[in-house]
């Protein structure tokens, strides 16, 4: 890695040369390591990274971290989001026997969940195949960091015609103290024909150390399959989180994703969905809520390569303090993708003068019989609505809170797991409570 001079890249370099154990596929690992050996980290000169400062990340040099104590109350509070799910907990990158639900790893009428290091035989082949078939346009070095250096992760597989009643709740917690901690979980989810599954990924950190999390997730849905995929990011202000998610949806499949980015110092979430057959559907939702110096960056890429597919995106940002949001959504409708229905909407609320959003919804259409709309707005709270509430006796702070919560609720109300909706709305309300100060 010739061009690199920063702490983090030096560390990556050392890992490439070293022989740390890898989670599962030797073939994937060495392919990614060789990419890393010649790869270059993005800078602000790269169009795709123009708004995203990586200086904090580059300054960090991961080492052997010391795990801090984990308050069981904390775990319990995280589990509140999904009290009746199969819970799987990764603590500082390691699978936690203690906090995970032991039933979760059992094969359960068509659903199997395995830890990557334990994969073998056909399951291993399937997981490898899912990753190999995936494509990420945002061909970034972080995918290779995840694949090259990952120590752990999950392979979740659903056989044909299975309605999975129990959702899966995967929790990643960092308690690191002292030196910078690095984790890069790789998750592979494969849902076979006409089966349905719900997965919630939740990220939290509570140590004093800087944490770098570089997850990579690969999803493949076969004909008529459905996945509801939730991501809840609530790490502390010492965490930098850069994730890539690649999703392939076959004919008549449905992929529904919700992302709630409510924490971290920096998060960049890149979500790419390609339709690999006709009649498939993707629904992408998200809220990013930033304060102080947080940087929250959401990228989506939708590849409409087949006819009669629909995609519907709705992302909302609330930015306070000096925080910065980025929304970059590209919808590509290829020549043969007739009857495509693609909607994309990004709305932002700036609560302070120093907050900033860069939003760039993009459509590239090469088919002629399509219905596509996109739009972005940036604004402040509606002063007429504020006055209406105040004229009924509600003070300015509470009125601001109500309207800001309502702004987020336009998205969160679509969470169709009751406990999770309550949890996310509660987290958003609690954060807003802290950041909204009356302006008089």
């Amino acid at each position: 890695m010739a061009h690199l001079t920063n702490n983090f890249s030096e560390w990556v370099n050392q890992q490439v040369d070293g022989d740390s154990p890898f989670a599962f596929s030797e073939a994937l690992r060495s392919a990614s390591l060789s990419k890393l050996a010649t790869g270059v980290f993005p800078t602000r000169k790269d169009e795709e990274w123009k708004y995203t400062p990586l200086a904090d990340l580059f300054d960090s040099k991961p080492g052997e971290e010391t795990a801090g104590v984990l308050d069981t109350e904390f775990i319990r509070s995280l589990k509140q989001a999904m009290p009746s799910a199969h819970t799987i907990v990764f603590l500082n990158g390691e699978y936690s026997e203690e906090y995970s639900d032991s039933r979760a790893m059992l094969e359960d009428s068509g659903l199997s969940i395995s830890r990557l290091p334990q994969l073998e035989g056909t399951a291993l082949k399937l997981a490898e195949d899912t990753i190999l078939k995936s494509t990420l346009t945002d061909d970034n070095i972080f995918q290779h960091i995840a694949l090259g250096l990952s120590q752990n992760g999950l392979f979740i597989e659903v056989k044909k015609n299975v309605e999975c009643q129990t959702p899966i709740h995967v929790i990643y917690i960092s308690t690191a103290r002292g030196v910078t901690a690095f984790t890069s979980p790789v998750n592979v989810i494969r849902v076979s024909s006409n089966s349905h599954l719900k997965v919630v990924e939740q990220y939290a950190s509570l140590g004093e150390a800087t944490v770098i999390t570089v997850p990579a997730s690969y999803v493949q849905l076969e004909d008529g399959a459905g996945l509801d995929y939730y991501k809840i990011g609530m790490e502390n202000a010492k965490t930098n989180h850069i994730c890539n998610t690649s999703v392939r949806v076959a004919g008549s499949g449905t992929f529904r994703s919700h992302q709630y980015l409510l924490g971290s110092n920096l998060t960049r979430s890149n979500l790419e969905v390609s339709f690999t057959g006709p009649g498939a559907e993707a629904v992408l939702r998200g809220v990013y809520l930033g304060d102080e110096k947080q940087h929250l960056d959401v990228r989506t890429y939708l590849d409409h390569a087949h006819p009669h597919c629909s995609s519907d995106q709705h992302f909302r940002g609330i930015l306070n303090g000096h925080s910065r949001g980025v929304f970059n959504g590209l919808v590509l409708v290829r020549e043969h993708a007739q009857k495509t229905d693609a909607q994309q909407s990004n709305k932002n609320l700036l609560l302070s003068r120093d907050a900033r959003i860069d939003t760039k919804p993009q459509l590239e259409i090469f088919a002629d019989d399509v219905k596509c709309t996109h739009g972005a707005t940036v604004g402040e709270l509606d002063s007429d609505a504020l006055f209406y509430l105040q004229s009924r006796g509600i003070d300015q702070k509470d009125a601001t809170l109500m309207l800001t919560r309502a702004f987020a609720a336009e998205v969160t109300q679509e969470i169709d797991i009751d406990s999770l909706r309550t949890y996310v709305q509660g987290k958003i309300a609690a954060s807003l409570d802290e950041i909204v100060i009356p302006s008089v």
């Binding site: 509606d382 105040q390 004229s391 109500m402 109300q413």
Partner: protein, 252 residues
């Protein structure tokens, strides 16, 4: 109750209210009529504390308090209520929880105990019957997707629940069918008491058949140019405003 003296208000440098005087005593109902653009809504907004208006001269006292110095929410908590001419939609804010919050803020201010969900629900259900509003509208966001008439009924529902001392109704009758008109008027008459006062802004004498005012005022070009009893409204209905405007001009 309400004492407005020589009130002069401008918007973006343009004078709108030009020396308005009005005295409302407890228990009275005052009707304000007047041509479009004469400043009726401006008066209502200034009294309830909306931003964007500059008060250039004059005063407004409410229960002996300097009204114009109070934040809008304090005015509301002190018992003022404005039924908006154009109630806005507030997506994402539930109608019921909004109204419960509003009521409890007012109760707290009065030193009363807050109502819990159950007590509030039974109160609101009772008041909904009064305005004959569909229960389903309670579950929706404030005014969202409501028809014009439903929005107006929702304003009266809020008034009935919040039980104000001084209510200003800005063209609550506009856009209502005859049945709705009767219902809205019924809501007002239910609240009527020796302690409560109303300022009813309207274009139609018809409403005043249902809500019988003690006084009728004509607001024109930012001033009250004529005050009288309910007979004045009948006369206006017959003769229009022109004769009054001429009369006012010749006086000036």
């Amino acid at each position: 109750m309400l004492s407005i003296k020589n009130l002069q208000v401008s918007v973006e440098g343009k004078p709108i209210l030009k020396g308005l005087n009005l005295e409302v005593n407890p228990g009275e109902i005052h009707a304000i009529m007047g041509p479009n653009g004469s400043g009726k809504s401006t008066l209502a907004h200034v009294l309830s504390g909306r931003e964007g208006y500059s008060v250039d001269a004059g005063s407004a006292q409410y229960k002996g308090l300097d009204l114009l110095e109070m934040a809008p929410e304090i005015r509301a908590r002190e018992g003022m209520f404005l039924a908006f001419q154009y109630p806005i939609e507030i997506p994402g804010v539930n109608n019921t929880s909004f109204l419960k919050k509003a009521l409890n803020e007012i109760r707290k201010h009065r030193g009363e105990e807050e109502l819990d969900a159950i007590d509030f629900l039974s109160l609101i259900k009772k008041q909904m019957k009064l305005v004959e509003m569909k229960e389903e509208l309670l579950k929706r966001p404030v005014n969202q997707g409501f028809s014009g008439g439903e929005k107006k009924r929702n304003e009266i529902l809020q008034m009935a629940v919040l039980n104000p001392t001084l209510a200003i109704l800005d063209e609550t009758d506009s856009g209502l069918d005859i049945d709705a008109l009767r219902i809205v008027a019924g809501g007002v008459n239910k609240l009527r008491s020796p302690n409560n006062s109303f300022v009813v802004i309207t274009h139609y004498q018809r409403l005043l058949d249902y809500i019988v005012p003690d006084f009728v005022h004509v607001l024109s070009n930012g001033q009250i140019i004529k005050s009288g009893t309910k007979e004045l409204a009948l006369e206006l209905e017959e003769r229009g405003y022109d004769w009054l405007l001429e009369e006012a001009e010749s006086k000036a």
